[in-house]
Symmetry: C2
Subunit: 274 residues, 2 copies
């Protein structure tokens, strides 16, 4: 398998300006492609913004999976021959609920929609939590899995993805900034590094930037390898930036950490029940 | 609850010299106590050394739980009024097997022996893997749990300890050095940081030093807080050193990460089955 060029486009969407945000995402995707990207990852809720005042505002900014955002990304993926992963405020009209959803589109169209399972802070006031495991998508760039933000901080969830065959986990996030020792990386980044290395997978996290209703962001976009070491980033700045990383995704099929050890085979699941 | 002073005595035992190594550990414990330590953590296999040529050599260096090493530590714990955690090459005569074991002694004597469950590299040629969960010990310094080295790299195992009430996990290790990017912390340290923060517990890791039969060590002793940030270390040098950290262990009973979030309560275990 050839090298895959991964781009994380850390955008700075403006709250409640979907038309402008869609245009901004489009420009970033086209720029990333010009820099060689095969796969573009965008932030969580990349078009709506994050800091909803309540359900009503979220409903007014929600879109179905065949709405303008996903359709636009699918067209772009087809036109440019790339894979795009990004987060939307999804209106699931059939169930009459909103979900915090990551989609993956490729040249064939929408491949998967994953609904965030672990909701953060006030999100339950707006979103219905998903109850499906992270999808595993066979693509020309290897087996890709999807999660959204807080999901990736649950080792059980990342393990499930790895055991299901995910080689590259793409994670749109909106990481609110909180205090941490100045000489240390944000805990969110550390947990992503560990999640990658305990499962020997690649993880591409795309965070956002741009103060929104008093919330600042880590701007911690990062791509880590199966050893847990950054291939690009962490950006660690609250500003738009595109990270570019190159890797051979299929390398993540090898779970060995030595002649006699394997991070998945060495588990003792018969002992893990509580 | 008062502050607890934790000391990790990163020793440099010499292979196959148990008498000298016992004396060295004793000196380090007394020195740590003089620096205020309430709890002393020693490395894995602190007295025998690690790099056994094979089972015969391991048997010749093994000791029962009432052997000179554990008895000596128990006497010292009684005399100094402290808690000591350390690793031994345990002869389990009843079963006729060797185990890679961590013990905890306090002023009352031997409180627990935990047998390493996840064996590394050639260890299965020498040791029988444990099959019991990490113990949870009520002590005057909070609820202490034990693991040995590779165990702590399995998120399932640390989660189990946290769900069982462990507030401070003490982990004797022998971390062989392997290449990693120079600007990065060793992956072992990163995984410990993440294990602490995903469970909001303290973790005290005591590594070793001193080249042994061609094996070098990370010398990565570290004490991390429930945010995953180092309170002391990582030492990151292949030399003897004692790290001192102060903390209120009971703080780890609080699993909240915000007004509405809790790292254990936010789990969705009904979805985690494979």
């Amino acid at each position: 398998m050839n090298e895959t060029v991964i781009a994380c486009c850390q955008l700075a969407p403006r709250f409640g300006e979907p038309v402008a945000n869609r245009a901004g995402a489009r420009r970033a995707i086209i720029d990333a492609r010009a820099r060689g990207a095969d796969l573009v990852v965008l932030p969580e809720l990349a078009v709506s913004g994050y800091a909803f005042a309540g359900p009503q505002e979220a409903w007014s900014l929600a879109e179905a999976l065949d709405g303008p955002t996903v359709s636009g990304w699918a067209e772009l993926a087809h036109e440019l021959g790339i894979v795009i992963v990004g987060g939307i405020c999804e209106l699931d009209a059939a169930r009459g609920v909103l979900c915090n959803t990551a989609v993956l589109v490729d040249r064939t169209g929408l491949r998967a929609a994953y609904r965030k399972v672990h909701l953060w802070d006030r999100e339950p006031e707006v979103f219905t939590a998903g109850s499906q495991p992270p999808p595993v998508l066979e693509t020309e760039h290897g087996r890709i899995g999807l999660m959204v933000c807080y999901d990736v901080e649950f080792p059980e969830w990342v393990r499930l993805a790895a055991l299901s065959g995910v080689e590259l986990l793409c994670v749109p996030v909106n990481w609110p900034r909180s205090p941490h020792p100045e000489s240390e990386r944000p805990g969110e980044v550390v947990r992503v590094q560990a999640a990658a290395s305990t499962n020997r997978i690649f993880i591409a996290v795309c965070d956002r930037a741009g103060r929104e209703r008093g919330v600042d962001w880590i701007g911690g976009s990062v791509v880590v390898d199966p050893g847990g070491f950054p291939l690009a980033g962490p950006a660690e700045r609250d500003a738009p930036i595109t990270l570019i990383a190159r890797c051979r995704v299929a390398d993540a099929a090898d779970k060995r950490t030595g002649e006699r050890n394997d991070v998945l085979a060495d588990r003792r699941p018969e002992l893990y029940g509580v």
